[in-house]
């Protein structure tokens, strides 16, 4: 929740809404497509699913489930692009964006940390052939025969299976079979009392008898059960000197094997050897966290059902697949999807192409890097192309995941989870299908989210601390002419028509499949996806598209050139754009409108004899992203407004003297979805800013 004012937004009356927004903090410009990474070539992601809460701009905190990074995982994930504050909590909406490279063998270990009432959970990776029990680490060891006679923890060793590095420790459980004394004590005439405490078990008793020489003989009367370590033996009372030390000997069987290192590269379950420890007969089998068999995929077992077992990794499952196709993909729960996906169990998978076309690293692509570095901008791309195709080069990228939420479902789920957790442990839900009876129809969503946040929260930075479970934003910025890759995923149950103001989007690919023309005689292919100003987001469908803005064809100079004494050049390339000098402030200006006036009688210092007279500033209402003039950039804006600083300084999200970008609303065009629980504005909406070159787009935190 970014601002308490939002609580008081009116249902209507944008003037009020924008005032509320305008009072917000200065807008920072964080965006890109952040996510987590693993080892090159063979990335392993240790994810979990857990309950959390997400916040909405009306102040509501909604119970939700999300994927996140398993807090017990040995290694933290990598983050890309590099951002201060990047994190991956145990449960987030959407789940962590997994960033891999085409051809990688990707391993995802999912641990089910959801409440027991939720039952099993899982992940589907649509578009990939996923195996859930090969090519992974050792993730579970099951003791098949406990053996007997163990007086110390035996050693555990893994052999075979094609992998390396797995290690585990065993634990034994048994009764007290003897008590070993350092000496027998002395000077007793009256027998002391022997007390056995600790060691994890119960019921062991022993008695002391006084020998003729005043020493003691200690005998175990009852062995007791459940001892996993040696209990303490206390010899008190009597009248002699007790033994200097006394040790209870526990003899038992192997009851647990704990994996300390999961290893990697196993293609089949390795053999487990249990040796030493004084006993014999214990056997165990290793598993590659295959989880439980579900309908659509292997599932990670109900966490509560695993509490009763000694099976380390019982509530985990491993998925392995080869990232065969580049592009934007989704992942989501394959278990009770109508509930679990609604609760938030979804995320994105970005596969970067293995090969980058030459044209994406030279020519205009290289010039754009010079332009960015001229103002000190860093490169926040995950790659230089979305696919191994020259039409997929890009200069910036943004990921938008669309979902809607009926918080009534979430409230029902939370209440039933709490009721279940209030029961005695033995009565809590351990069912694979969970124990929730939550009506998911009739469906009346009041929250419409992009990347798990509703407007205006989505325009706060990535990893903003006020949204600990909603790390990703939706706040795109770009400079004129920059090819901007838009990655779109439909993650909910509804379609949403996503309208990109300011230009069309060339659809490059759907579900990671490039849409191309048939090869010509030279084998060359060209984009065949449609040009769209409204890109429908469909549940389960991903889309990659290229967008840019140049201002071509307005018939007036957006930079306000051509004023008296102005000699700013606009040297055109073959397409009419000023791309000769990437360090120029008007890099990528459309020269066909260079120096063309907009205003008939300008109020400030811009060219005159244009077609229109601007309205009197006193009879209009200024928006909070209004840069202060019709022109792009603070230089032109300051020139154009003359002595009239409009809008008033300090009330805007797009400073006339600092940014003065062109702001465009990108939003769902099923317009009622740009509300947050009956309040406009909100929901699936964000402002996209085309910024002048002088404004540094900083995608770090």
């Amino acid at each position: 929740m970014r601002n308490m004012n939002n609580e008081f937004l009116p249902v209507k009356g944008l003037q009020c809404a924008t005032l509320a927004l305008g009072s917000l903090l200065a807008f920072s410009t964080q965006a890109a497509a952040p996510g987590i990474t693993g080892a090159a070539g063979n990335p392993v992601f240790n994810l979990d699913a857990a309950a959390t809460r997400i916040s909405q701009p009306n102040g509501k905190s909604v119970y939700a489930w999300g994927y996140g990074c398993d807090p017990k995982a040995a290694a933290a994930p990598g983050f890309a692009p590099s951002m201060t504050g990047a994190n991956c909590v145990a449960a987030q909406l959407p789940g962590p964006t997994l960033i891999v490279t085409e051809g990688d063998t990707v391993t995802v270990v999912l641990t089910n940390n959801l409440p027991g009432a939720a039952g099993n959970t899982s992940i589907l990776f649509p578009g990939f052939t996923t195996s859930s029990n090969v090519n992974g680490p050792v993730t579970a060891v099951k003791v098949t025969n406990a053996g007997s006679g163990y007086t110390a923890a035996p050693a555990v060793a893994f052999t075979g299976g094609g992998g390396t590095g797995a290690a585990a420790t065993a634990a034994i459980t048994g009764g007290v079979t003897a008590i070993s004394l350092s000496d027998s004590g002395s000077s007793y005439t009256l027998a002391p009392t022997v007390a056995i405490t600790g060691g994890g078990g119960t019921g062991a008793t022993a008695s002391a008898a006084v020998n003729a020489d005043g020493s003691l003989t200690i005998s175990v009367v009852t062995a007791g059960t459940g001892y996993t370590g040696a209990p303490a033996v206390a010899i008190t009372g009597g009248d002699g000197t007790p033994p200097a030390s006394s040790t209870a000997i526990v003899t038992g069987s192997v009851t647990a094997v704990t994996i300390t290192t999961k290893g990697s590269g196993y293609t089949s379950a390795p053999t487990v050897a249990i040796t030493g420890g004084g006993g014999s007969g214990a056997t165990a089998t290793a598993a590659l966290l295959s989880g439980a068999t579900g309908l659509l995929t292997q599932e990670a077992r109900n966490s509560a059902s695993c509490k009763a077992t000694t099976n380390s990794g019982c509530n985990s499952v491993t998925y392995t697949f080869v990232a065969s196709t580049p592009g934007t993909h989704s992942y989501y729960s394959g278990t009770q999807g109508d509930l679990q996906v609604e609760m938030g169990l979804y995320g994105a998978l970005i596969v970067l192409p293995k090969t980058i076309p030459m044209s994406c690293t030279n020519g205009l692509a290289a010039k754009n890097l010079i332009a960015e570095s001229t103002t000190g901008e860093a490169d926040f791309r995950l790659a230089k192309a979305a696919y191994n195709h020259p039409s997929s080069c890009y200069d910036r990228e943004y990921l938008f995941q669309f979902s809607e939420m009926d918080d009534n479902i979430h409230t029902q789920a939370e209440q039933q989870v709490l009721a279940d957790q209030a029961k005695p442990a033995a009565q809590q839900c351990t069912s694979a299908t969970g124990c929730l009876v939550v009506a998911t129809e009739p469906y009346v969503p009041g929250y419409f989210m992009v990347n798990g946040r509703s407007m205006p929260d989505d325009m706060d930075p990535n990893y903003a601390p006020m949204y600990p479970s909603q790390p990703y934003n939706g706040n795109p910025h770009m400079h004129p002419g920059e090819l901007t890759l838009i990655r779109i995923i439909g993650q909910g149950r509804w379609q949403h028509p996503f309208h990109e103001h300011a230009n069309h989007v060339r659809v490059l690919a759907r579900d990671g499949n490039l849409l191309l023309s048939p090869p010509d005689v030279n084998g060359k292919t060209l984009p065949a996806g449609p040009l769209m100003f409204t890109t429908t987001t469909t549940p389960g469908v991903t889309m990659d598209g290229i967008f840019y803005w140049t201002g071509k064809g307005l018939n007036w100079d957006v930079f306000g050139h051509g004023y008296n004494g102005d000699t700013t050049p606009c040297v055109p390339d073959a397409n009419g754009y000023a791309t000769t000098d990437p360090t120029a402030p008007n890099y990528y200006e459309w020269c066909g409108d260079h120096n063309k006036a907009l205003e008939k009688n300008p109020t400030g210092q811009v060219a005159s004899n244009g077609p229109v007279t601007l309205p009197d500033p006193n009879i209009v209402t200024n928006g909070n992203w209004y840069g202060g003039s019709p022109y792009l950039g603070p230089e032109a804006t300051v020139r154009a407004v003359g002595g009239t600083p409009i809008p008033p300084a300090g009330t805007v999200a797009n400073s006339p003297t600092g940014e003065a970008g062109y702001a465009y609303m990108w939003h769902s065009h099923n317009e009622r979805e740009i509300t947050t629980d009956n309040v406009f504005p909100g929901g699936m909406m964000m402002m996209m800013l085309v910024d002048p070159r002088s404004y540094v787009i900083n995608e770090t935190n």
Partner: protein, 625 residues
């Protein structure tokens, strides 16, 4: 539901209003130049007709639903091109038509006879409210009988502006029939006016010399108030036109608590400027009592649409949605000439130079060199006009949906069709001072061009008591009173006057063996809607105002029996009547079966009729069987 504080929120706006009063700000005005730098006057000095203008009112009104119920609208009404709007045509006019003067006699009655216009007799297509700006170059603006006149004094009649060539004493104004009449000014403007013993020479002057956009607010309010149309006035331009679109905010009379701004979002305008994009957060929005002229160079051809962008979930649901399309440059290719050659010109343009420092003809030549390039592809990933493999000659008649180069989007007659939905509960609450529910919004009326079946094919009742006698609607000639014809639907407003609330029927008349272009847009606020064709396959040739063609030039158009759109999408469909016979009838209807209803009526909804005719008038769309 947050109930607080609408009024509290509006406090800053009150402040703004006061500022406006203090500043004595201008209020209404229009803009429509006779020439611009881009479209200079013709060599003979006449106006350049590639400059198109339109004025629209932002306000409220009422519409009639398919079950006969009246529904409250926030909406746009026409303030120019009223005659054509009434007849279901675009209200976009060339500057010469826009800049013409309404007969002041229409303003003389009380209440004004302009209230409720247009009706069947209303013949004016110019800008409502436009009056000569007498502050421009004249010493005095008064007019009274026997007044002393100085050279340069101006007099206005219904269609012309005259200026006294010499000084003297006047006769009575020609516009005041109660006084002795002058014998001039005459149409030629050079004849003397005789006033008693003195003759004065008057000189006709081009009206635009005094038409600076200055308006009289009375006719604007008389026409514009409670005159919302559903859908909003139709806008149609040709590629390369300049469009001056003036939004005049007349206020919402039924909701005086709101005094809301309105805007125009030209949906799909490529490379839009934020300033003219109509998003109030990213630009400025015009207050009640003011006008804002949006300026656009017509973009690449296609079926776009427009709507208000203030609080869209509300203003769009309430009816502030309209249609807008751009006809292609290709239409201007001479009949029989190669379409492909025209396209190729854009790919093989001349040398581009830096315009900086150039002037006069050199500058104009430099700019002209960019015009082909502006449309060409040249590797642009957002290219709209890939070069096809086939050529075709420009057909002798009809038009093209896109710059296709191969004639594949040719049509004989075009129909704008807008899909929309209304939730009557929301509209009812919208007329009250209560907050509306967005979560529960559920459309119950499903409309094509603001009407549900059977109004899509009717709407006009010949000889209705509210019409003049004889009924002026041309098609009513020779028909019995009570005959229902496709024509403007009228709705009685709360002041008792009738308004042509829904002027656009959706009867699809196609000449046998001809082709109809359906320019379909959707501005539904809540859900996707499907429109199916029973009988004639739909050929989808365009999507989102873009030709369906890959960048290699391959035609990606496809045949289907239905199309599905969300709000914010458009699609171009051709219905081909090849092999069909005049007199055949087909239907467009929705397979969303619950949308075949008009609220409680289990009948109607998103449906209309397709007639095969022996010929169709491309202007009026009249069908001859």
């Amino acid at each position: 539901m947050k109930s607080i504080p609408r009024l509290l929120c509006l406090l800053p706006v009150f402040g703004l209003m006061f500022v406006a009063l203090d500043a004595q700000a201008q209020s209404f005005r229009v803009q429509c130049p006779m020439s611009t730098t881009f479209h200079p006057a013709n060599p003979d000095g006449s106006a350049n007709s590639n400059i198109k203008c339109q004025q629209i009112a932002g306000g409220d009104g009422y519409a009639t639903m398919g079950d006969g119920n009246t529904i409250y609208l926030f909406g746009f009404g026409p303030l120019s091109g009223l005659r054509d709007i009434y007849n279901g045509l675009p209200g976009t006019k060339a500057n010469t038509t826009f800049n013409s003067l309404l007969d002041p006699a229409l303003e003389t009655s009380t209440p004004s006879s302009l209230v409720g216009m247009p009706d069947g007799n209303f013949s004016f297509n110019g800008a409502i409210g436009l009056v000569p700006d007498l502050t421009q170059g004249v010493a005095s603006s008064g007019w009274a009988p026997s007044t002393a006149y100085t050279s340069g004094q101006v007099v206005v009649n219904a269609s012309n502006v005259y200026k006294a060539a010499t000084s003297g004493t006047s006769c009575a104004p020609v516009t005041n029939p109660s006084l002795p009449q002058c014998t001039g000014p005459t149409a030629t403007g050079t004849a003397p006016i005789t006033d008693g013993t003195v003759s004065w020479v008057w000189q006709a002057i081009p009206p635009d010399s005094f038409l600076t956009g200055h308006v009289d607010p009375r006719p604007i309010m008389d026409v514009g108030v409670m005159n919302a149309n559903q859908p909003a006035p139709l806008i149609a331009i040709d590629e390369d036109d300049e469009l001056f679109l003036t939004l005049t905010n007349v206020g919402m009379i039924m909701r005086p608590d709101l005094f809301e701004q309105h805007t125009v979002h030209f949906h799909g305008y490529p490379n839009a400027s934020a300033f003219y994009d109509g998003v109030p957060d990213a630009s400025i929005a015009i207050n009640v009592g003011g006008s804002f002229t949006y300026y656009y160079l017509a973009p690449d051809a296609g079926t776009y649409f427009w709507h208000c962008h203030i609080a869209p979930p509300e203003h769009l649901q309430m009816g502030m949605v309209g249609q807008l399309y751009v006809r292609p440059r290709q239409n201007k290719v001479a009949a029989g000439a190669s379409l492909l050659a025209a396209l190729n010109q854009w790919e093989n343009a001349g040398t581009l130079v830096d315009p900086t420092g150039l002037a006069g003809n050199a500058l104009q030549a430099a700019y002209a060199a960019y015009e082909p390039v502006r449309k060409g592809c040249r590797g642009d990933i957002l290219c709209t006009t890939p070069i096809p493999a086939q050529d075709a000659p420009r057909a002798a008649t009809g038009g093209y949906a896109y710059n296709d180069g191969d004639g594949t989007t040719h049509y004989d007659v075009e129909y704008p069709i807008q899909i929309h939905g209304f939730d009557p509960n929301f509209h009812f609450v919208g007329m009250t001072f209560n907050p509306e529910s967005f979560n529960e919004m559920k459309d119950k009326y499903f409309m094509l061009n603001g009407r549900s079946y059977p109004d899509t094919v009717g709407g006009y009742v010949c000889g209705d008591v509210r019409h003049p006698t004889p009924d002026p609607f041309p098609a009513c000639s020779g028909r019995a009173a009570g005959t229902v014809l496709p024509g403007p639907m009228e709705t009685q407003s709360t002041d008792g006057t009738y308004h042509a609330s829904q002027p656009l029927p959706t009867v699809i008349n196609i000449p046998a063996n001809g082709r109809a272009l359906l320019r379909i847009s959707d501005l539904d606020v809540t859900e996707y809607q499907t429109l199916a064709s029973l009988g004639i396959p739909m050929t989808v040739v365009g999507l989102n105002a873009r030709l369906l063609r890959d960048m290699a030039g391959n035609n990606l158009s496809y045949k289907t029996n239905s199309i599905t759109l969300a709000g914010g999408e458009s699609i171009d469909v051709i219905l081909d009547a090849t092999g069909l016979t005049s007199g055949q009838k087909f239907f467009l209807y929705t397979p969303n079966l619950d949308h075949l209803s008009n609220d409680a009526e289990n009948f109607g909804g998103l449906m209309t009729e397709v007639n095969i005719c022996s010929s169709v008038d491309v202007q009026t769309k009249a069908c001859t069987i």
